[in-house]
Each structure stands twice: as C-alpha cells, then as structure tokens.
Symmetry: C2
Subunit: 360 residues, 2 copies
C-alpha cells in the first residue's frame, strides 16, 4: 500500500528542522522512495542532513505532498501555520499535542508524535530505522480532513511504525505518564545515586544493567525537556503526584514488612509490564474493514480514536474514493478485534463490512 500514497505520483516531502528526528524522518522517507527537501535555521545542520542522506536537497518545495515539522515544540505551531500557506498535508512530531493542534486548527494539519528517540543529539544520531516497531501517535480532530489523515497514516506505517490515534488532550495525559514523568524520575534516580556516591564515583560501578536501562534517558539533552515541561505542565505535575503517592505507598509497605501486600503490588506491576503491547500480528490474522464515509466532518477522528479507545489497532488505512463522489475508509485490523470495532461503529450509526486481507 505504501507505493500508492504519493498523490499524483509526486512523492515529494519537506522536513523542517534538521535535528535527530527531522534527520530520521528524512531518511525514513527516502528509504520509501520520497524526494525530501530539508530546511533548518542552522545552515550547518541543513548541509549535514544532505551529507548524511536525510535530504535530497536543502530548501522547501511549495508543491510537496507532505511536510513534517520537526522543530522544537515551542515553535512547531507557527512553523506549521506557515507551511499550510502552500498545499499538502502538514504534520509535526512534537511531544505535546493539544497546544499545537489547537493553535494550528487546520483540516490539512494532523498532529503527530513518534514515540521514538535516542540518547544521541542532533542529525548525526539520525537513523532511518528509528521508527521501526515504534508507536506513532496521530491526533486527528473533528476538523481533520479524511484524506490528509489517510495519507499520513500510510506514510508513517511505511516507516514500520504502528499508528495509534487519540484526541490531543488524551495524548498529553498519556505521554505525561509514560514519557515525561518517567524522564523526570530517571533524572531523580540518577541524582540520588550521584549524591550517595559523590565522593567515590567508582562505586557507581555497582549500578547494574537495570539501573543503566532506567537512567539512560536522563542522558538526553535537557533543552527539549524544558519545553515539554512548559507546554505539558499540568499533566506532568498531576502525573508526578500520582507517582509520588504510589512510591509513598510502596515505601510504607516495605517499612512495615507487609510481604503479602508487597507481593500483590509487584505482581500487578509485573503483569502490566509483561502485557505491554508490542508489534503487529501476522497477516493471516488481519482483516480489512470497510466503512462508507458519511458526508459530515469529524469522521476520521471519530473512527480512529474509537478504534484506539476500544484497544483496536489499525495497522493500515486507505481512503477509496468512488466516482460518484462518496468514499470508503479501508482499515486493516486484527481479525479478533473486528466484532469489537463493529459494535462500536454500529453504536455510532456507521455501517461496516469485513473481508480477509487483500480479498475485499
């Protein structure tokens, strides 16, 4: 399906921002045969992007099908608005979504957030495979254009990423819990350890693989986290409160030697960790779901976020336009999830048909 996404065959994209993520997006696009124009306020970074093969050329193409805004989160909305003056679909990769999506508010803009990264800084850490097997969040709203969403979904899926669609506000609460708060916790763990062993830093050799894993993200550049903490402040503070409360409970259980309760807490965490979802099922367990697109706005946001909230992952999505002007959304989901999605869609007044993959 990834061979068809270039509208009018013009598989040309812009990447604005030549950092770690912009470089990786450029490389991933080029690996899929796109022609990529890259730009950055830093001319050295632009040039390095071309040298590293992330961009075909420096600059911006006004007729590009797709523009990725890969700037710092604080300027993403302004850069996206500027890019929307031309045609094409525009998306960003910022770690916080609601403020950006609200500020842009355009049908051809779909907020995005690849849940991937590296402790390396800058374009030299870029990697075409950075998104392979990772989750890429899209945050369509009731204003989002269906074709814009479908194009972006297909491109991101072609990078090997798994798309999850959620409303922007819910995204911000969730990433506070699974990314922003853990990052601050990693920094805290590292600080406490460094304090305790300050005079004898070699004693930090006692830090085993688990500690290294837990604190690896604390080695990242602080600047991005300052912006994130500024833009997603409320969700982060509330997530910190939850973590501090939970740690306080755990501390009491250890202090009072309540072995049974401690076992319950650890067992529960263990099960949740083991059940952390990963990867896609094999093709024979997938089906194509077809939903006629009604003539009203908000369709794509409603269907895609419904699926994510039902725990139904959409592995691929495509819009099939009929010559009479109507259209059908074709989504690839797991066979086992089709009854669940059908129930949710029918409850919302949609029709849906299911067929084995490739036979529809």
């Amino acid at each position: 399906m990834s061979q068809d996404v270039g509208v009018g065959g013009e598989r040309t994209a812009n990447v604005i921002g030549a950092g770690l993520m912009g470089g990786s997006v450029g490389m991933a696009l080029r690996a899929q045969g796109w022609t990529v124009y890259g730009s950055d306020r830093d001319e050295m970074a632009e040039q390095r992007g071309v040298e590293r093969g992330a961009f075909n050329a420096v600059g911006m193409c006004e007729t590009a099908t797709l523009t990725f805004v890969c700037t710092p989160v604080l300027v993403a909305a302004a850069v996206a608005l500027d890019a929307l003056r031309h045609g094409g679909v525009v998306t960003d990769i910022g770690s916080v979504k609601a403020p950006i999506v609200e500020a842009v508010g355009h049908p051809r803009f779909v907020g995005g957030h690849p849940m991937a990264g590296s402790e390396l800084d800058g374009i030299d850490g870029s990697d075409a495979d950075m998104f392979q097997g990772r989750t890429w969040v899209l945050t369509p709203t009731e204003r989002t254009d269906t074709d814009a969403y479908a194009l972006l979904h297909a491109v991101v899926t072609s990078f090997g990423a798994l798309v999850v669609s959620v409303p922007p506000q819910q995204h911000d609460r969730l990433v506070a819990t699974v990314s922003h708060v853990p990052h601050l916790a990693a920094a805290s763990l590292m600080s406490v350890a460094a304090d305790g062993a300050l005079e004898h830093s070699t004693l930090l050799r006692l830090a085993g693989g688990g500690f290294r894993d837990m604190t690896r993200i604390a080695a990242g550049h602080p600047t991005i986290w300052l912006d994130i903490c500024e833009t997603n402040r409320d969700a982060i503070v509330s997530g910190m409160d939850e973590l501090i409360n939970d740690l306080g409970r755990m501390r009491e259980v250890v202090a009072t030697g309540d072995r049974d309760r401690l076992r319950t807490l650890l067992q529960r965490a263990r099960e949740a960790r083991i059940n952390l979802p990963v990867g896609a099922p094999p093709a024979e367990e997938l089906v194509e779901v077809r939903v006629p697109i009604p003539d009203r706005p908000g369709f794509i946001a409603e269907v895609s976020t419904l699926a994510s909230q039902l725990g139904v992952n959409i592995y691929d999505v495509e819009i099939s336009h009929s010559s009479e002007g109507g259209g059908v959304l074709v989504a690839v989901i797991a066979q086992t999830a089709s009854d669940l999605l059908r129930g949710g869609l029918i409850a919302r007044g949609f029709k849906m048909s299911v067929a084995p993959l490739g036979l529809a």
Copy 2:
C-alpha cells in the same frame, strides 16, 4: 592469570542453587575450564542444569576449591555455613550482604554480589556471558583470608566482571540506591501507567523505548524482591525517602515553571549519567602494584576497600607467596590511579611498588 587460579590444579567448584544465577555461574565456570557440581532442592532444576551445560554433574564435591552459594538470600547464610564444613573458599551471590556476612563470619567466606541479571526466570535464562563487563561486588571484612579473596577475585575477573570491593554495610546502602529503590520505582511507574490506561490497554503502545527500558526490571519475578526488601529494609526505606523528596522538588520546579532550576537539575543528572563508569582501560594504561602482606588480619579488606573508596579499580589481583612465608599482593590498576593508591596505602603504613604490566 585465570589459568593459575585452581589451587593444586583442582579446578573444581560447587554451585548450590540451580536458578538463573547459579546456572550462569556454572556456565561461566565451565567456559573457564572448571569442573562444576551443581545442586538444588529441586531435582528437575539440577537435571536441567546438567542438560543446559551449566553443571558437569549433580551433587557436591567435598574437595572443591570454590563453592558458589546461589540460593535465595534468606537461606544463603545457612547454606554457606554448611558448605564451610568442608575446605575451600565459599562465596554467595545475594543482593544483600551485611546480614549474610555477619551471620557467616568465617575467613574462607567472602560475600559477593554480581550486578547482573535478566528478566528471565530460572535456569533456562542462564547465560555464560551474563557477567561480561558487569560489576561484581566483593565484601571482604577484617577476618577475610587474603588467599580466599585473591582466588575469588581472579575467578570472577575471568568471567569478564569488574570487581569492586566495599564493606558489606556500604554495599547494602549503595545497592538500595542503584538497584532496590529503582526496582520499586519501576514497579510504581508501571502501576501508574497501567492505572491511567486501564480501560484502553492498547494506549500503552504510547510507551516508547525509554519507558520500556525503565520498567523492564519490573517484569522480574517478585519473590526475590520480597526477600531483598525484608533483609535490606532500612536502607531501602531511606533510599525511597530520598527519591520521593527529590521527585517532590522536581515536581515543584515544574509546577512553578522555574526553567533555569529545571535545567540545572536535568543537566546535573545528565552529567552523572554520562559519567557512569564502564569498562576497563587498555592494557598499556595498566600497571602492577605490589604490596608486601603484613602479618596481621584485615589486610585484604583494608587494601581492597581503600582502593574502591579512592575510586581506584582493581582489574586483577594475585597473591605471590615467597618461600620464606611472607607474601606480596599483586594488583593490576590504571596507571593514572597509582599515585592516588600509593598515597592511601602509605597513609595506612603499607609499602607499595609500581611496575608496567607483565614486567614486574
């Protein structure tokens, strides 16, 4: 040097406890040419140990040079005392040291703790390379026999581990900070995330690589942690308090939008993480240090913990006995650290000479 450690050429060892660690110790010993006898209360685990190549045979050899007690921490002291009825050096691999070392209190017992593990349970997760590049703590005391320590140091080093020697109580405080508290924090992070996404578990796909890294250790079997929390309770509670306080400070900095202070906190954690010590320097940067062994107890604990406290890593150690009855401790350290160690040794009334590696 690892070819010479078998006293009288009898490179025979016992491993008591056929779990993840016992199996890995057995495999690492066999990779170095040892004959390994393995035992466990669970006959199936013993047999599996032989099948997997961790043990040459089931049972215990009474004339073994070395016995590794790889049982749960709560029974390690009793098992070690039993093993000490025969000759040979006895060590354990428990995550808490002071209670065990105090309970055993024997010159031929050296407490040990490899800072390595796996989220896999049981002997099937065992791996001969588990200790490669990892830290292995030894906790000699003033009663510890010098030869016993040197033998164990050489064997553990032959597994590819880096030895750090600290007093048992200091070990327990440090591992609370870099292992036990982080483990409980991982469980808390996982619980909070699971709570927040309970109805929509697929949304946990938003958990990126950083979150997966941070919570991986929470997938381990809870039982070992119940024992650890019981035996190292005070240090863990105090470490939890430090972490909760630090997180509270961080939360305030985010809530008040104090960007400069947040940058300072994150920058400090970043530097500490980047400076986490790893690996050994190349051989040409190493020297051999020779210290004549005085005729009084406590020598090995004093020198080895002095080195660790000065931040001087001992990469290898050997005891050279002279025919007149005296002996010399030969330690391999980094050239750059030799002045530091000399100062510390002289201050404690020891003599020391330094020579390039292999030329002494």
